[in-house]
């Protein structure tokens, strides 16, 4: 018996003038499967919606086509109507006869409108119901890294009732010994103490991830610590693996008088120089014009050095990166306190003369060369991804950016997401380090993971995208191609492996369905037959 399709036309208050609705309804009424055609003037408003629910029930419609304005804004309303009338919400197809027809063509567009409705009817006849199902998720989170960002995230997650494992490759937690905390003089010992005292946070040092499998809600992680491997399940993963820096090579002969930003802050804090430096130089923003942190570190250190030693301070720079909260003020403060900023177009030359570091640069404002002899030079550093990021990226199959930092450069992922649902990034490991932004990201990650895991279960479409075990030959193509890592191979019978798409991790793009050589994957709503039916419906004129 043929499926019963009801068609609803909306003429948008009578404003759509270039479609002959009477003629359109007559033609559509004749199409196979159509048991009812209705014309309304405002389907999306309360009265229209109520009329629709009654019609669907009274006429016992099994599928519904709505011809009106764009589904992108109204689809959810009509899906709600179907549910209210007792139909699965997926049994709806819409024809966009307003924004994509009436509004963009002159003259009578009845023929095109009927074509679009015919396409929608052909598709709707093939649509199958899709149910919603709840899946249990693990309320444990793995945080890879132990810097300031990692520990803060762990604490915030624990406040949400989620147990967190902080995993550090090295022998000790890094917060406090790492650069940003040092530069800020942040007392990381209190956060380390808080983490160690927190029952909901487990700390694993000298530990690393060996393998990752599974999907959001139930990532299977093999962790190796002290030669022993354990298998753990986590609902979500946070990558907070930090970064490293490399001094831009100034020339070896300058030796110990050329230091990194971190080393300089240690000197400031520990007063570990024999003599207070009379003159301090900083080099900034020539090789790496892409980082904010060096400017911030330089300003903080310059002001501190001025205050502590009263030294002459010179900063050679190309552009100060002031696009962060409070940095412009800090810059003005530094200038007011007597720090000399020497703007140059190219990096100064560094050498040694009379036991002091010689810096030769060209001052753009003065239009002259400037030669500086300083006791300590804080060199320019490149900001680079942490060691092992590339390997870790392959292991997790999570993308990095062209410089090797975590997170694909894709606006839809910003600020803290990855292309794999359930895997997040926080801190300097994303590339640009800025304390203010980092703190927002920490809260953001905790919030996102809280939403995901707090209830212990997540509702999702059940098997909307599914590989048919009869047709799947386990060629692994879909697994390799899925951008969201939502597919894995599972054993269904004693010896048959089949691709299984995770309802939670799937983002309904359909790339797997397109790529499967056996056409084994059915993506409800966008199966091959559902797409081809629309093509076949287009009338040959």
């Amino acid at each position: 018996m043929e499926t019963k399709v009801g068609v609803f036309f909306c003429n948008c208050g009578g404003a759509i003038k270039n479609i002959d609705f009477d003629a359109a309804l007559r033609e559509v009424a004749r199409l196979p499967g159509v048991i009812s055609v209705n014309l309304d003037s405002s389907l999306c408003l309360e009265e229209g919606k109520e009329r629709m629910v009654s019609s669907i029930r009274d006429e016992k419609m099994e599928r519904v086509v709505v011809a009106g304005c764009s589904p992108l804004l109204k689809e959810h309303i009509f899906q709600g109507i179907l549910e209210k009338a007792g139909l699965n919400k997926h049994l709806l197809s819409m024809a966009n006869i307003r924004e994509q027809c009436s509004w963009v063509h002159d003259g009578d567009v009845t023929a095109k409108a009927v074509d679009l409705v015919r396409m929608a009817i052909n598709r709707v006849l093939l649509l199958q119901p899709v149910e919603t199902k709840e899946t249990a998720v693990s309320k444990e989170v793995l945080v890879a890294g132990s810097g300031f960002a990692a520990l803060n995230v762990a604490l915030q997650l624990s406040h949400l009732g989620l147990r967190t494992t902080v995993m550090e490759e090295g022998p000790v937690l890094r917060a406090g010994s790492e650069e940003p905390a040092a530069v800020y003089g942040v007392d990381a010992s209190s956060i380390i103490a808080e983490v160690e005292a927190n029952e909901n946070v487990e700390v694993l040092t000298s530990a690393r991830v060996m393998t990752l499998e599974g999907k959001v809600g139930g990532f299977g992680v093999r962790i190796k610590k002290a030669g022993k491997e354990t298998f753990r399940r986590y609902g979500a993963i946070v990558l907070a693996t930090g970064h490293r820096t490399e001094i831009v090579n100034p020339g070896a002969e300058a030796g110990a008088s050329v230091v990194s930003q971190k080393a300089f802050t240690d000197i400031l804090r520990n007063s570990s120089l024999e003599r207070e430096p009379r003159t301090v130089g900083f080099i900034l923003d020539f090789s790496d014009e892409n980082s904010r942190f060096p400017t911030l570190a330089t300003l903080n250190s310059a002001l501190a050095a001025k205050k502590k030693w009263g030294s002459e301070i010179y900063v050679f720079y190309k552009s100060v990166k002031v696009d962060s909260e409070g940095v412009e003020r800090l810059y003005q403060q530094a200038r007011d306190s007597g720090v000399v900023f020497v703007k140059s177009e190219t990096a100064p030359k560094i050498g040694v003369e009379d036991g002091r570091v010689k810096v030769e640069g060209r001052d753009v404002f003065a239009g002259e060369d400037l030669v500086l002899a300083c006791d300590v030079l804080v060199a320019e550093e490149l900001y680079l991804p942490a060691e092992g990021t590339e390997t870790f990226s392959s292991l997790l199959n999570v993308r990095t950016d062209p410089k090797g930092f975590w997170q694909d450069d894709n606006v839809h992922l910003y600020p803290v997401g990855s292309e794999k649902k359930g895997i997040f990034f926080v801190g300097g490991c994303r590339g640009d380090l800025d304390p203010g932004r980092m703190l927002a990201d920490i809260s953001g990650v905790a919030m996102n993971i809280g939403e995901l895991l707090s209830a212990g279960k997540v509702a999702a479409d059940f098997e909307r995208v599914k590989a048919d075990p009869q047709k799947c030959v386990a060629c692994l193509t879909c697994i390799r191609v899925c951008p969201h890592g939502a597919i894995q191979l599972v054993r269904v019978e004693s010896s048959k492996d089949v691709a299984q798409i995770s309802d939670l991790a799937c983002d309904a793009c359909g790339v797997c369905a397109a790529v499967c050589p056996a056409k084994a994957i059915a993506f409800q709503g966008y199966r091959d037959e559902e797409i081809l039916a629309q093509i076949e419906a287009i009338k040959r004129s």
Binding site: E99, M119, P483, C509, V511, I531, I535, K539, R540, S541
Partner: protein, 128 residues
């Protein structure tokens, strides 16, 4: 469907761009038939060829700008399939230009209209 252009429109880019073109009152050829897809990467060679087999004069596949695909590589996969389809057409002595890929953002209605006009011009060339 003589003279018709079938446009597979990704719901994250071209479909909303087409809606926006409607809101702005931009105009394009009535011959266009839009088929909504969740990602340009859902479009397969068979869909493109079937459209031509059914009488379409041209086929457009529209996806997100390079680097902005919500599904990371959907648009690049679509491009490969479009190029493959063009190649198949050329192999049987047909004009490979009647199948084309365009990249655009959901807030770029003018690019949508340009894509439709461009393919319309190609398919309208005399001697086709």
């Amino acid at each position: 469907m003589n003279g018709k252009i079938v446009a597979f429109c990704c719901e994250n880019s071209a479909y909303p761009a087409a809606d926006l073109a409607g809101k702005l009152g931009l105009h394009y050829s009535e011959n266009l038939r839009i088929i909504r897809v969740p990602c340009a990467g859902r479009v397969d060679v068979i869909h493109i060829l079937k459209a031509l087999e059914n009488g379409a004069a041209g086929v457009l596949v529209l996806g997100c700008e390079e680097g902005a695909c919500r599904h990371i590589t959907g648009n690049t996969r679509a491009k490969e399939r479009v190029e493959y389809s063009s190649m198949l057409l050329r192999e049987i002595n047909l004009d490979g230009r009647v199948v084309a890929m365009f990249n655009l953002s959901p807030n770029a209605p003018h690019k949508f209209v340009k894509a439709v006009n461009d393919i319309g011009n190609i398919t309208a060339e005399p001697g086709r």
